[in-house]
């Protein structure tokens, strides 16, 4: 597609429920990143994919968080047993390949609210 697409744009869920967030990167972009932004804070790195593998998962805050990518395309971020502190905007970004001079293209994000 023309840009990075994320769905849903908004999600309200009850504490303890599982949620799945989806990211469609720009076609042909091999690198895909998940970040989140909690209220009043900066963008926090979660996980990075090169193709379908995730060489860097260091930002996932707990084992309740997992992500996968298939077909070197769509990625899903799953949060199990959601907690209120998971409330944030979850941003997905892609780039043509990994490298310092390849800036990211971000999606509009999924605003997750855990009540």
């Amino acid at each position: 597609g023309a840009g990075v697409s994320q769905s849903p744009s908004n999600k309200v869920t009850e504490k303890g429920k599982d949620v799945e967030l989806r990211c469609d990167p720009i076609s042909g972009h091999t690198a895909l990143y998940w970040y989140r932004q909690r209220l009043g804070q900066g963008l926090e790195f979660l996980i990075y994919f090169q193709g379908n593998s995730a060489p860097d998962k260091s930002g996932l805050p707990s084992d309740r968080f997992s992500a996968e990518r298939t077909g070197e395309s769509v990625s899903t971020l799953t949060i199990q047993r959601t907690q209120q502190e998971d409330s944030a905007v979850y941003l997905c970004a892609s780039s043509p390949r990994t490298g310092a001079n390849y800036g990211y293209t971000f999606g509009s994000g999924t605003r997750l609210t855990v009540v």
Binding site: V4, Y33, Y35, G40, Q41, G42, L43, E44, F45, Y48, Q50, P55, D56, L91, A93, T98, G99, A100, N101, Y102, G103, Y104, T105, F106, G107, S108, G109
Partner: protein, 113 residues
């Protein structure tokens, strides 16, 4: 440990004047820096970048300055326009198996007409 810091959460500037947004970092291994702009309900968009081998990069009204000895970079916008009102994030990267960007907390710029 916040490796990239934007100490001013907000900044107001009169239209036509210069906006200066500042960013400090702690990791001397960072070798590439970017600025992103974010409007409400949209994802951040890339604005301008600079490599650590340079001390200045200019693109139209936007100039980024890098002071490696001070571990400081700044974004200058001149002249500022009301459409520049947004949140600006600086980001830094270095290679540690992968390149990933560490973002600051952002500065909300408001350009007053």
């Amino acid at each position: 440990d916040q490796q990239v810091k934007q100490n001013s959460p907000s900044l107001s500037v009169q239209e036509g004047r210069i906006s200066i947004l500042n960013c400090d970092y702690t990791n001397s291994m960072f070798d590439y820096f970017l600025w992103y702009k974010k409007y409400p309900a949209e994802g951040p968009t890339f604005l301008i970048s600079i490599s650590s081998i340079k001390d200045k990069n200019e693109d139209g009204r936007f100039t980024v300055f890098l002071n490696k000895s001070a571990k400081h970079l700044s974004l200058h916008i001149v002249p500022s326009q009301p459409g520049d009102s947004a949140v600006y994030f600086c980001a830094a990267s270095t290679y540690s198996g992968t390149y990933k960007y560490i973002f600051g907390t952002g500065t909300r710029l408001k350009v007053l007409a």
